[in-house]
């Protein structure tokens, strides 16, 4: 199977842009979603590299459960400020 260069260059640019945005943006929820987008594109690249097991694991765990664990942590470190007033 040949690798299509154009698709890989586009996805690589999207991943690098997403990760730079994740570090620069002040809003924390957008940063977490940007890291989820990096995981999603990595899972597609694993499929192009002929690794279906790794692609399934990265899509299920990286782009699903890891993003949700970060969002739960954000929820627990934000609300207490409003309760103690």
């Amino acid at each position: 199977m040949e690798l299509q260069h154009g698709i890989i260059i586009l996805m690589g640019l999207a991943m690098i842009l997403s990760s730079i945005l994740a570090m620069v943006i002040k809003d924390l929820i957008s940063s977490v979603i940007a890291v989820g987008v990096v995981s999603l594109f990595a899972s597609i690249i694993y499929l192009l590299l002929q690794a279906p097991d790794v692609a399934m694991t990265e899509a299920a765990i990286g782009a699903g459960l890891s993003t949700l664990i970060f969002l739960y942590a954000l929820h627990k470190t934000k609300d207490a400020e409003e309760e103690n007033d």
């Binding site: 199977m1 040949e2 690798l3 260069h5 890989i8 260059i9 690589g12 991943m15 690098i16 990760s19 730079i20 994740a22 570090m23 924390l28 940063s31 977490v32 890291v35 990096v38 995981s39 990595a42 690249i45 694993y46 590299l49 002929q50 690794a51 279906p52 097991d53 790794v54 694991t57 990265e58 765990i61 990286g62 459960l65 890891s66 664990i69 970060f70 942590a73 954000l74 627990k76 470190t77 207490a80 400020e81």
Partner: protein
């Protein structure tokens, strides 16, 4: 393909830069997750051989000549374990961040000076 190696290395560098310069603790944990993703991408890309197919033997000619028609399966087995361990370590680090926040009510790492002399 060398492009994927370059993408993986650039992701690792961006993650390291994020860990060194950011002040918010949750962003530091996010940067570590980016470093892990970049490293796993490089590891699987090292095992790719051009023109070959996935290591699943589902037809008879693949069973006979398996060693000449599949990509390297050893890095895939290592990365499978590394992804699951990565999410467990992320969860534990976020638990530490939550406990620290419950004591001092701030998420900036410059406020935690108790261990400095």
């Amino acid at each position: 393909m060398n492009i994927i190696h370059v993408i993986g290395f650039i992701l690792m560098l961006i993650g390291f830069w994020g860990m060194l310069t950011q002040k918010n603790m949750i962003k530091i944990v996010l940067a570590l997750a980016i470093v892990e993703t970049g490293l796993q991408l490089v590891m699987v890309a090292f095992g790719f051989i051009k023109g070959r197919t996935a290591p699943i033997l589902d037809s008879t000619e693949l069973v006979k000549g398996a060693a000449d028609m599949i990509v390297d399966p050893v890095p895939q087995a290592l990365v499978l374990t590394a992804i699951v361990i990565g999410v467990a370590v992320n969860a534990l680090m976020l638990t530490f961040v939550i406990r620290l926040y419950q004591k001092k009510k701030t998420l900036s790492i410059t406020e935690y000076k108790d261990l400095k002399w």
